[in-house]
Symmetry: C2
Subunit: 768 residues, 2 copies
Amino acid sequence: MNQDYITADQWSIIEEGFEKERVQSSESLFSLGNGAMGQRANFEENYSGETFQGSYIAGVYYPDKTRVGWWKNGYPEYFAKVLNAPNWIGINVYVDEEALDLNTCKSVSGFRRELNMKEGWYQRSFEATLPNDVSVRVKATRFLSLDLDEIGAIRFEVTPLSGDVTIKFVPYLDSSITNEDSNWDDKFWNTTSVSSEGNQAFIEAHTMKTNFETCTFMQSDLLHNGKAVHAEPSVIQKELWVGHQYEHKTAKGETLSLQKLGGYTVSRNHKADALIAAAKEAMKNASSLGFETLMANQKKAWSAIWEMSDISIEGDVKAQQGIRFNIFHLNQTYLGRDSRLNIGPKGFTGEKYGGSTYWDTEAYCIPFYMATKDHSVARNLLTYRYNHLEKAIENGEKLGFTDGAALYPMVTMNGEECHNEWEITFEEIHRNGAIAFAIYNYYRYTGDYSYIPEMGLEVLIGISRFWGQRATFSTHKDKYVILGVTGPNEYENNVNNNWYTNYIAKWCLQYTLEQLNKVKEGYPEDYDRIIGHTGLKEFETEEWETIAGQLYFPYSEEHNVFLQQDGFLDKELVTVADLDKSQRPINQKWSWDRILRSPYIKQADVLQGFYLFEDHFSLEELERHFDFYEPFTVHESSLSPCVHSIQAAKLDRMDQAYTFYLRTSRLDLDDYNKEVHEGLHITSMAGTWMSIVEGFGGLRIVEDKLSFTPRIPKEWEAYSFKINFRNRILKVRISHEDVSLELEGKEEMSLRVHGKRVVLAPGKPVSV
Amino acid sequence: MNQDYITADQWSIIEEGFEKERVQSSESLFSLGNGAMGQRANFEENYSGETFQGSYIAGVYYPDKTRVGWWKNGYPEYFAKVLNAPNWIGINVYVDEEALDLNTCKSVSGFRRELNMKEGWYQRSFEATLPNDVSVRVKATRFLSLDLDEIGAIRFEVTPLSGDVTIKFVPYLDSSITNEDSNWDDKFWNTTSVSSEGNQAFIEAHTMKTNFETCTFMQSDLLHNGKAVHAEPSVIQKELWVGHQYEHKTAKGETLSLQKLGGYTVSRNHKADALIAAAKEAMKNASSLGFETLMANQKKAWSAIWEMSDISIEGDVKAQQGIRFNIFHLNQTYLGRDSRLNIGPKGFTGEKYGGSTYWDTEAYCIPFYMATKDHSVARNLLTYRYNHLEKAIENGEKLGFTDGAALYPMVTMNGEECHNEWEITFEEIHRNGAIAFAIYNYYRYTGDYSYIPEMGLEVLIGISRFWGQRATFSTHKDKYVILGVTGPNEYENNVNNNWYTNYIAKWCLQYTLEQLNKVKEGYPEDYDRIIGHTGLKEFETEEWETIAGQLYFPYSEEHNVFLQQDGFLDKELVTVADLDKSQRPINQKWSWDRILRSPYIKQADVLQGFYLFEDHFSLEELERHFDFYEPFTVHESSLSPCVHSIQAAKLDRMDQAYTFYLRTSRLDLDDYNKEVHEGLHITSMAGTWMSIVEGFGGLRIVEDKLSFTPRIPKEWEAYSFKINFRNRILKVRISHEDVSLELEGKEEMSLRVHGKRVVLAPGKPVSV
């Protein structure tokens, strides 16, 4: 844990007291998003201290040059940079002509931020004495509407405390923004128009190269003691900036407020030449409701989300706050409404990593969205990959694969690979397996087989063709081998026979063969269409069968475990416990060669296989592998603790499971990895959800039915969650005494608790 | 072979006929250099066609940003870019106001280039009809003085053929130059003054960041039919450019010539504020001699070089031309006069690769310089590394090594690492071994032990400390292992137990231990100084002994060969002969992952060990390893064919040896690797020399004496070379009939030919 300033609270993230060093961390933690846009918790008023300005629009990116010193064939042309978008939240504030700037105020007291997760708003309040000795109270409330997802709303209130003053508000739009991670001083945005009409203003700008057209807009209204002041603003207009100036005398104790609506209309959703019109329409809809109604609707919308996705924990406020923080940000990032979008690893909270889609989506996020949303949301995520199949085949071709072999990109925005480390882009091929697994997992969980004949089988064929070509035969071993890969543990590169990769490759081949048979029998028309479209030949499927049957898996007789890769045992096997703490995190302390030749594991690798294919192995096997690998694991990926928490729970090591749980759920709140200022770790937040539902709750699908093996950390009194299983809603509460289950809807449901069959009737809670 | 337009000639490189597509290739092939500066064979007059402009100053570089997408700890701060320097050769030519430009002439005939290697000059002549229908004959002669190495000279002659005309010459200097490989649009040069005095002009400019101050200068004289025309030029001056304009009426058949002296004075050799004065002094010295005397001196200087370093081949003009081309360019690149310089991989012929020093110097170039120059030249090259020892230790520290462990950089200008691919920078650590081997080789060849107590032992200690820390103990193998390396074959990255690396590491440790004992006994004062300075502890040397004794070497019982690395046999072992030709060169056709998992070898790897340590292995072992590895070798490094040629000769496979010889000696002339336009492969040219002297000639040092096992390709009648062995000059001529040996100097020399002892008396040739 590297920070501890967030006040523990059931439903809110709260910071009290103004400390400049915490500004960037809080800008991440208090970020807002509504699936379509979002921004860091930057101050509305000017702040001259250290800050990381960031506003983001979903699906809008820039193809940054991926120039590297020594180009390798097959490198992608660009790196998809998550772009800092024009700023619409800005409101410069002057009190008696003195600029309000928390960095220069003589004193700041009562500073408080609250991110109210239950209701979906963010508020900041403080009292400050400006350099001109005038004191004011400020309260700024902001939210991004879930209902009208092009609209955000701000109410900025100033109350003079030391005497009568003149307050000047200058709400503005600004497109002179850059990225923090801008490497080559490139210009990302081209501003084409800056205009103002009455109390509205607009900046039209498009991204360079990708040509996403956007209109950033605002509308402002002035209120004095809550009553509208009908004041025509004066306009200040610059090349990349437009502001409205409102000035009003305000007596001591009275409150002057600026209400600002703002946001983006984007050519992804509107005609490029109608963006201003669309902006006007959006503002008309919003202002016809008014701030209060918008806020009331916001609370309702979040209430509906929580109704389905909340996990409540009794008796442990920090654990409670952690899980809600995770669920809140997942919902801020992706709501499943737009199948062109995906779950960016930093959501709307930062720029790092680039691209929107990693294997995180399939391996970590889909279970959360399946269980807490309508199944169409998960199906949209699968459809996203189906829509990218052709690009995945092109990507395979760039690397020399042929005949429809698909290699899905490691990082993508639109289906094209946009990451350029050879050891990742070319070698971290297990991502293909996660995509196939998600298809299996989706059907296993939702029971909706239709995706497979409609789309999934083609994806599976492309993926299996890749594995079929990527595996090679070793005469020496008399087995098929997969050489030169990077496994989930990215602290090993270019290894041979990574067990996880080989295992999931074999599984993909077998699963594809099974689905081919199933579709052939059950959906002959689809089958014919697919065979026609893919041109699948019999020799291919025969080859897949051969490879699956003869794939090599490194194994140590001595330790009785599968080996992470060939040669793993040649390392100096010093456990993390015996590693000097000053050397941690090794990814900040060690050069790459040293990391590579060490035994240290960034995140679950062999154990990732045991997680996905848990039912293929006995509890004893899991225990042996957990005991062998976890001691070498440094958990320097945000995706690591959750898997280990789930497995520790399964092994009934509840203390360890709880420690891992805290680490995953409060990773950002407590800044375990010393990087929260760069943004939040969104995708691993779904892993936190899993660590409760699958880990402590022990949720599994066994023979098409739900099964629970509930456990509870001793620190908790009880916890409860809801899941949508095959369109039936089940509420589960687990305490030290019992497990209570309650089913919504009309049909009864049969399930298992601790292996025992329970039949639930709707509306009749059962306690086990 | 990808081109075949160079006329075969014993002593010259000749191109006949003007073809625009060949311009860039010829610009490389006809490059000039004098160890201190050089330039590609760009035309003096303006050329609007495709050209690659390049002028270079030894030791002047730019630290380019080495930004990569994902920074890894330990990456160097910069990449040392070989900088295109201001141009001093330019002479714009106008005939009746029409610009002479070979790209726009109505016709060009009799175009001929000659690089006269024997005498060290370059000449270009042609007849051309300009767009205004005026015809002229042009002859341009250029050389870079070996005696006055800041001076180059040009005589540019124009003879009107179609009538009386007015000829205008505009000799100029130009600092508005950029690099072809300029990635980030950086500005490399900052021009601080542009000036003109009489018939002289100066541009002062310094490199950004590195602040090398330079003065580029020129002086011009006009001659009419060989007689000086005393004409004050008019001056044209721009921000980064200065030209002198000479205009003269010239009758049909008469010749107007412009003689231009030019070059650079640099703050590496002069005070920064005295560069113009130094330039004036250089021009005064040169012009007091005059063009003819300068040229005569040039011929003498080259004659002296050839006297010692020539290899003559009788009966095979192409082979003859090839070896002389190689020897010529080696001497143009590095003359051993300045121990701050080294042998850049592209010399003064291009920008690619960057940096000046690779392991090429120690592994390939030192034998050539030892045998064809005074031994001080090779000693200078060793001293260069001694001077960089501290930086090598710092480099080791950046990667986590401690206590004086030295890792020499893979690429450097000033001792700092300046290359940033992790698999090379961090892992291609065998370079350390080549540096130690060069120390051994220098003593073996020259008999000069003094370098070791004076400097070499400290280098050896630093290197052995590195190996001592880099090797780790594998409990599993019960041996020391070296994990995560890249061997000489860069088509494998991050492999374990690369046999070559392990072998040279073991040898380094043992050789260092031996030298420690030897210096302790023979040079006790040096020993005490060194122990004091390095703080070497007994436990360190004990550890080195342990590691050397227990290092692991991968071996295949089945094939009875050492394995290139762990797991090599898991590959699909399809030989190059069975690889579709359309797939070659694989480094242009395949993605990196495919190259890595293939068995294909870029350049000698295991065989590099057999080359360096030939005497450790039997002929049968060499044969077995050659037969195992050569069939997988694609020779896509310029350093590959020479080693294989030497080994094929040793195995008495003369046809194969000859094929490899042609490939190494005419690599650039015939453009085997499809990249001659980028510049020449300088360092591998020393390998060509080795392939004759060590390969065909069979030169070895056996028990402190020369030994020859001469062979001769059937295509040749005879060949002869000279070597300086321990300050005695031996001339060797090998024909199909006999070997004749002739010794210069005063002492007699005992040596072996085909294993038989021969005693040579000075001046008395012996035929064997």
